[in-house]
């Protein structure tokens, strides 16, 4: 079973463009799919002060953790729909049968998924940071770390989504499989924001985040492609 079908008979750029256009037009017509995780992110972040108490001092110390855990859960929420819809209407089978390199298709799908889930989180995060009394100069580090982290999370989450494609109640299983794998992202992500908040240079954790992202970028699509082929052959 070769992991990949070799260079795709259709040009790589053409293939990625086709998948990106496809995903984008589907997402545009079904906004709920990607808007809900954003609302979830906003609500979850604003729940913490209600639970923990409004005092700015305590909020400020735990703000990086809150931002990051909420971002992780929001991305996880949006991962469900990554392959399940294609599995249900049979287009996933057609993709596997098209002979194109599944890893490229997966990469394109995950990038669009990130554009619609990770990027909006990024844009929203400074506003929510203010809610949690994060100082303005930590915002750049917050956004950079979220940029690296949410993309890694989408890539790793895609493996979980592919492994649980077609299963009923896949959401719960997906989080059990994926969350342990995202612990490094959570640790270095919140550490970088915490460092920035206490005016220490956040370069160390950010660089490690970037390294984890590159690892995920190179390996995750292969594992996802293999998992999808297994998932497709599971049903009859």
């Amino acid at each position: 079973m070769n992991l990949d079908n070799g260079t795709s008979p259709v040009g790589i750029a053409l293939l990625i463009k086709c998948i990106v256009v496809r995903e984008w037009s589907i997402a545009v017509r079904n906004p709920g799919q990607w808007l809900n995780p954003l609302l979830f992110f906003v609500i979850v972040v604003s729940l913490f002060p209600l639970g923990i108490g409004p005092s700015p001092a305590t909020l400020e110390t735990i703000a990086p953790g809150i931002m990051w855990v909420s971002a992780l859960l929001a991305v996880l929420l949006s991962l469900d729909a990554l392959f399940d819809a294609d599995y249900a209407d049979g287009t996933l089978e057609q993709m596997v049968l098209s002979g194109q390199s599944m890893s490229l298709i997966v990469l394109a799908k995950v990038l669009v998924h990130w554009l619609l889930s990770g990027l909006p989180l990024l844009v929203l995060s400074p506003i929510l940071g203010l809610l949690l009394n994060l100082s303005l100069d930590t915002m750049p580090v917050l956004m950079i770390s979220l940029f690296l982290g949410t993309l890694t999370m989408s890539l790793i989450g895609a493996i979980g989504a592919a492994l649980t494609v077609g299963l009923n109640q896949a959401g719960v299983l997906l989080s059990l499989l994926v969350l342990p794998l995202t612990v490094p992202v959570l640790i270095f992500g919140s550490a970088s924001v915490a460092a920035a908040a206490s005016d220490i240079s956040a370069n160390g954790p950010l660089l490690i985040l970037a390294a984890v992202l590159i690892l995920a970028l190179s390996l995750a699509p292969l594992a996802t492609a293999l998992a999808l082929k297994i998932g497709v052959s599971g049903s009859n």
Binding site: C18, D89, E93
Partner: protein, 210 residues
């Protein structure tokens, strides 16, 4: 080796019952093989195993002499599979769906322009609804959008799982005529249908299951 599809002693177990028991067949260029059997006799499973979408417990499928796992690219290049699931995105319009399909199936097919797609849709009398999201189409119409792929793709081997379901008389005649043309031009077809298929001047052999 000509484009010959061959299945040797395919056996599939579902738990304790033997769904496919040592099924073997060969399908040469220009031939049509109709798989018949009651519901649940493993017709769909056999077709999915032949396409490499399912794993057989025993047995092997060969395409032009080589096992399909070994020459997957070449096999998929020549394969068109139409399963129970329509294989189209309800949110996208017929034209968008077919545009993605022709591009994904690459090579010569990607040369198909929108004009070819519209011509294919016209042949299946769907041109008026070409820009509607497929969600808005009836099951029969969605089936026709899927069947438009028969017109658009240059695959030599067609594997069709009950292609004639939910089609009206005109649709039936059209699809049978398309299949006959494909067989005459040297293509091979493996299909399952309940109603007998009458294709002018084409040798239709049958494989009984269960």
């Amino acid at each position: 080796m000509s484009n010959k599809l061959e299945a040797k002693e395919i056996s599939v177990w579902r738990g304790d019952n033997l769904l496919l028991n040592n099924v073997s067949f060969t399908l040469d260029a220009g031939e049509v093989l109709q798989v018949r059997g009651a519901n649940g006799s493993g017709k769909t499973t056999l077709l999915r195993v032949v396409c490499g979408l399912g794993l057989a417990d025993e047995g092997q499928v060969y395409w032009s002499g080589k096992p399909i796992e070994k020459n997957r690219d070449q096999y998929y290049e020549n394969l068109l599979y139409l399963g129970h699931k329509p294989g189209i995105k309800p949110a996208l319009s017929a034209i968008e769906n077919l545009r993605i399909f022709t591009l994904l199936n690459g090579r010569a097919a990607s040369a198909k322009t929108d004009a070819d797609i519209e011509q294919a849709l016209d042949e299946l009398s769907l041109i008026s609804k070409a820009h509607l999201p497929c969600r808005a189409l009836s099951a029969g119409q969605q089936r026709r959008v899927a069947l438009a792929r028969l017109v658009l793709q240059t695959a030599k081997l067609w594997v069709l799982d009950e292609p004639l379901t939910s089609l009206d008389k005109a649709g039936l005649a059209l699809v049978e005529q398309r299949m006959a043309a494909h067989a005459h031009s040297g293509g091979s077809i493996l299909l399952t249908t309940h109603a007998p298929v009458n294709m002018a001047g084409v040798k239709v052999s049958t494989l009984e299951l269960g």
